[in-house]
């Protein structure tokens, strides 16, 4: 089956059984000066699944994730999230305030660099509480207990819940990011190279936690990584990106065992 057929397959097959996607992005294009970062990218993410986006530097995967987090807008493109109690509209049309509130309440994000995602000099529990405060929580006891629950679910030692991220190791910092991201039980969890840069043993532990959490709570996740091992461990479906375009997509085991596109084959076989 050639690539044309395989993507035609995704479009043509009538939706028989699965629930409608939580996230739909259509026709996403973005240029930064002379660089075309995204080329007419279509993405869907289904409830409770982990979508892996794999690609090398410059593939556009992080750009796409930033768009999902409403941190940046495309030159062209439509973005919809199926959220309880919300009308269906293109999220790129929201104003500043609406975007911020939507992000605060419905989207969690974990960055590769903890300095981006955390307030390093406030307490870890405070970092989680800040999310709850932005969403309007005003009871101190509730803030405390929800922070505790989120940190515990992220397998962060509660004895250190008031330690500041600046005092913690890389793996612990990522756990605080995770706790912060899931505190409000978001409809969508975005992870941008969450374990890249960590020691290998620590990576394994953090991925463990992620996997357990995902299985228990059926969180819908989009996981971006250049590391195929990470994608293989976590993802249900995979999108392969190159130079801003999607070159292949499919079930994770299929993309790794029977890659269709020459670039994907190269990537998969290149694993040392």
């Amino acid at each position: 089956m050639n690539l044309e057929t395989s993507s035609a397959l995704q479009r043509a097959a009538p939706r028989l059984m699965a629930d409608a996607p939580v996230l739909t992005m259509a026709g996403m294009s973005r240029a930064y000066g002379a660089v075309q970062a995204l080329r007419a990218v279509d993405v869907s993410v289904y409830p409770g699944e982990v979508l892996g986006i794999v690609g090398e530097s410059g593939s556009g995967k992080s750009t796409l994730l930033r768009m999902m987090n409403l941190e940046d807008t495309p030159d062209n493109g439509d973005y919809r999230l199926r959220l309880p109690g919300r009308a269906d509209r293109n999220l790129f049309e929201l104003d500043r305030y609406e975007r911020r509130m939507l992000r605060a309440r419905h989207i969690g994000i974990v960055y590769q660099n903890p300095h981006l995602g955390l307030l390093m000099h406030h307490s870890s529990s405070g970092n989680v509480a800040e999310r709850l405060l932005v969403a309007g929580e005003r009871s101190f006891e509730v803030l405390r207990s929800k922070a505790r629950v989120a940190l515990d679910a992220s397998e962060f030692p509660l004895a250190r819940m008031d330690a500041r991220p600046i005092e913690l190791s890389g793996g612990m910092q990522q756990r605080v990011q995770l706790a912060k991201a899931i505190a409000l039980e978001p409809s969508l969890l975005l992870l941008d190279e969450p374990t890249t840069g960590l020691d290998v043993s620590v990576q394994a532990l953090v991925l463990d936690t992620l996997k357990r959490l995902q299985r228990e709570r059926r969180i819908t996740m989009v996981l971006v990584s250049h590391d195929l091992g990470v994608i293989r461990t976590m993802a249900d479906r995979v999108i392969v990106m190159r130079h801003g375009a999607v070159v292949e997509q499919g079930l994770a085991d299929q993309v790794f065992q029977d890659p269709q596109h020459p670039y994907t084959q190269q990537l998969v076989h290149a694993k040392l």
Binding site: L9, Q10, M17, E49, D208, D236, Q266, H269
Partner: protein
């Protein structure tokens, strides 16, 4: 059996691997057709490399077929697995179709009994009952009691395999694909497996299996398909290709 009561209807299924870096195409099988009804056990035969595993994986959709149809009667209606959307395949894999290999996808720090109980929990069964069932099957397959709360990632190959089987067979599926499940099993576990398969078969589960020693499951087999090979006449510049039929 009524021809219209099939669970699975494979028609003209073909698989070839296009390997760009070698500029070659590896043909695995072509023109495979068969029907499978509820409670039927189909054995795939053929020497090594004949494409038996490949056929199973193509039905499971780890591999994408290059031609043909795989019509499957799911609880929600008929669907062509060869052309279905990824999400629908994912749904069917969760709910109706099982794939049993010799390899366990060991998740670190999850206890054996929890791994085995999981399909029941996902299907909505109550926790205590699910764990009881899980322990029963671990016992049946000969996993020692001390190991039930331990992490399978630390087990030997054979023990992992038993956990694997217990999990794969705990919840009756509609269609079961078995890829050499008896490899590295001791006699006791093998017997437990066959017994469980017989039970499931009696409950109407359709099965397609590849077995290194078909004798193990002799009494379960309803039909066989032999994926023989023939040489495809090569073009001038090509090497001869071997195709499983």
């Amino acid at each position: 059996m009524n021809a219209n009561s099939f669970i699975l209807r494979v028609q003209g299924l073909a698989k070839a691997f296009r390997m760009f870096h070698l500029e070659a195409t590896l043909h695995a099988f072509e023109d495979v057709s068969f029907d499978l009804s509820a409670g039927e056990f189909l054995l795939l035969r053929g020497h090594n490399g004949a494409g038996k595993s490949t056929l199973l994986r193509t039905i499971w959709r780890s591999y994408l077929p290059v031609a043909g149809q795989v019509l499957y009667q799911s609880r929600r209606g008929e669907i062509d697995l060869a052309n279905a959307a990824d999400v629908d395949i994912a749904l069917l894999r969760r709910e109706e179709i099982g794939f049993v290999t010799q390899f366990l996808n060991a998740r670190p720090r999850v206890a054996a009994q929890d791994i085995v109980a999981e399909p029941l929990l996902l299907a909505g069964h109550e926790r205590t009952a699910a764990l009881e069932q899980a322990r029963h099957w671990l016992d049946q397959f000969g996993v020692r009691r001390e190991l039930w709360r331990a992490y399978p990632s630390t087990f030997s190959g054979g023990e992992q395999q038993k956990v694997n089987l217990a999990r794969a067979l705990i919840l009756p599926q509609r269609l079961l694909l078995l890829d050499e499940p008896t490899a590295s099993l001791d006699a006791g576990a093998r017997a437990a497996l066959v017994s469980r398969l017989a039970e499931l078969k009696a409950q109407g589960v359709a099965m397609i299996g590849v077995f290194h020693h078909p004798g193990d499951v002799a009494q379960l087999i309803d039909r066989e398909i032999n994926l023989g090979t023939r040489v495809v006449a090569p073009a001038q510049h090509e090497e001869p290709q071997y195709v499983a039929v």
